[in-house]
């Protein structure tokens, strides 16, 4: 074998070796991706709809790829058994009460199985475990909701269209506000007033603040009222007495009410006087008689003054009166 032949053989050997090495590296990389050379356990779950899930699709747990779909087959009417190969190293973290659902890798990505939930109280899964599947939210469901949203959006935009048309036409409060300059000026004025009112409110607030500070001043009335128990007791006593007075007034009012009620009846003297017209006529006649009697009596008494038996007495009395007037002058 000459040197050229040797060189050629070596070159071919290196060529073949490198080619095989590249291929083996590819196989190992793929195996690593597919978890083919990793110790794994098999679990399964039964779905009514797998939505195009395929053998070889990924299995995720908490967002980490932990295995692949090993097999998919029917087990009964509308029952599809999905068998998954899961890395043994993740077995301890997946609990028996974990749920399994079908999702997708991104919005339009491949279908995947997602294991989620599961509480530490439940034991970890074992080889051959069957996990509970969760109902799949299909793309149709999502589209249905989106369609409803679209309709709502259409209705909203239609309303807005009408609203904006009316606003542009100067209809309604907002339209008037935008189209009518007077309204704008009024609004400006209102804003100014509002600003002034706000300023006043701020001042008032400040005054109230001062007032409250004064109220909190040690020894002040409010402070005593709030803090001094003696003052408080006095006030309470006053209030009690005020209440008693009010009670008495109430009783008095009741009595007066009763008395006034009696005045409206004819079973008593005052009531007869006030309410009986016949009695009134009689009283009137009596008064008339008394008036006539008094006139006559006056005449009689005048006559008595001029009687000789009593004339001296009246002269003395007149004289004493004249003397007192002179002294006063």
């Amino acid at each position: 074998m000459d040197a050229a032949e040797n060189k050629r053989s070596i070159t071919v050997g290196v060529f073949v070796l490198l080619g095989v090495a590249v291929f083996v590296i590819g196989v190992l990389t793929l195996g690593g991706q597919q978890k083919s050379f990793v110790k794994s356990i098999t679990i399964s779950s039964i779905f009514s709809d797998v939505a195009g899930l395929k053998k070889g699709n990924n299995v995720w747990f908490s967002g980490v790829k932990v295995g692949t779909i090993k097999n998919i087959h029917f087990t009964g009417p509308s029952q599809v058994d999905v068998i998954m190969s899961i890395e043994s190293s993740t077995q301890q973290y997946i609990h028996r009460n974990a749920g399994v659902r079908i999702s997708s890798d991104g919005l339009i990505g491949n279908k995947i199985i997602v294991i989620d939930g599961g509480s530490p109280q439940a034991p970890p899964i074992q080889d051959g475990a069957v996990l509970q599947s969760e109902k799949l939210l299909s793309t149709d469901d999502v589209l249905k909701t989106l369609q409803q949203n679209n309709q709502n959006l259409l209705a909203i935009t239609t309303d807005f269209k009408q609203l904006s048309k009316q606003i542009l036409a100067g209809k309604g409060t907002v339209g008037t506000l935008l189209a009518d300059s007077t309204m704008g000026n009024q609004l400006k004025q209102t804003m100014r007033n509002l600003q002034a009112a706000t300023q006043n409110a701020a001042n008032m607030s400040s005054q109230l603040n001062n007032f409250s500070n004064k109220m909190n001043t040690k020894g002040g009335f409010a402070d005593n009222l709030l803090t001094d128990t003696i003052t408080f007791n006095k006030i309470r006593g006053s209030v009690i007495r005020l209440k008693e007075a009010a009670d008495n007034a109430s009783t008095l009012t009741d009595n007066l009410n009763k008395a006034s009620n009696k005045l409206n009846t004819t079973d008593n003297a005052l009531g007869v006087l006030l309410n009986d017209p016949k009695a009134a006529v009689k009283v009137q006649n009596t008064i008339n008689y008394l008036q006539q009697s008094s006139i006559k009596l006056n005449d009689d008494l005048e006559a008595v003054q001029h009687n000789f038996l009593l004339k001296g007495f009246f002269k003395k009395k007149e004289k004493a009166k004249q003397d007192s007037i002179k002294k006063a002058m």
Partner: protein, 269 residues
């Protein structure tokens, strides 16, 4: 004496031109079938021409390596570059590694390698054996006691069957590297992430399907080249025809096999 199989010569022109061409094509397929049967009969029988196999591996594999590498790299870069706008339209540039790897591993690597090899190796084998046939070297070998079919055909077919899968592997690797360089330049994706995403959608079925494809393509290119050269006639004109026929037929068969193997691989998914 090993000579041209006269019983399998092209049929006389008794059909119309089109029908004649069709018949010629099917007759050629039959002749190839008979040629393949002979190959399998002789390849397992001693003596085994290892030195010649190594030499042919060097001629078909090593000498094509540069061309295949360059082609693979260009395919990777161009495919990535051309695919980007389509994915960008719906914001899926992150899918480029997956798309590139699927295209390269499942189809482009074996196909591009086979087409390049059909052009370079197939024509070379056809021309070499054709010239040996027309210059009666093959007949001379028969006379001298050397088995020309074993020495010339079996070694070359074995060489192409070995080297084309290896070249396809190199092509896949280099094309992925080209794709990575383009993705890295535009999206800034790291090598590790690119490779992870590239291998994500692939399965072992894809790998084995590609390997089997490359083996079949290699065998096809070798056998078609040898057939065309071994059965060439009409002097120097026949050499040209043999070289041309080797390339055209090999390419045509490569596409047919591609379809069939893809279909068969689908049954195992």
């Amino acid at each position: 004496m090993d000579s041209v199989d006269t019983s399998l010569k092209p049929a006389p022109k008794r059909f119309t031109k089109t029908r004649g061409k069709l018949a010629e094509f099917f007759l050629m397929l039959h002749r190839i079938y008979a040629f393949i049967l002979r190959f399998f009969k002789e390849v397992f029988l001693p003596p085994y021409e290892f030195k010649e196999i190594v030499k042919q591996c060097y001629e078909t594999g090593v000498k094509s390596f540069t061309l295949i590498t360059l082609t693979g790299f260009i395919v990777g870069v161009i495919f990535t570059k051309q695919s980007r706008p389509s994915l960008t339209n719906f914001g899926a540039e992150s899918w480029l590694p997956s798309l590139v790897s699927i295209a390269i591993m499942k189809a482009l690597a074996p196909l591009v390698t086979a087409l390049i090899a059909a052009g370079k190796v197939g024509s070379s084998i056809g021309a070499e054996l054709g010239s040996m046939r027309v210059t009666e070297q093959i007949d001379a070998m028969e006379v001298s006691g050397t088995k020309p079919f074993k020495f010339l055909v079996c070694t070359r077919v074995i060489a192409t069957t070995i080297t084309i899968p290896l070249l396809a592997t190199y092509t896949a690797f280099i094309a992925l590297l080209g794709g990575y360089l383009n993705v890295s330049q535009n999206e800034g994706t790291s090598y590790a992430i690119f490779m992870e995403q590239a291998f994500e959608p692939l399965t072992f079925i894809d790998f084995w399907a590609s390997l089997i494809k490359a083996l079949v393509f290699g065998f096809t290119i070798g056998i078609v080249g040898c057939y065309q050269g071994y059965n060439s006639t009409k002097g120097t004109e026949g050499v040209g025809k043999a070289a041309n026929g080797a390339v055209v037929t090999a390419m045509f068969l490569v596409f047919i096999e591609e379809v069939l193997i893809v279909q068969m691989a689908g049954w195992f998914r």
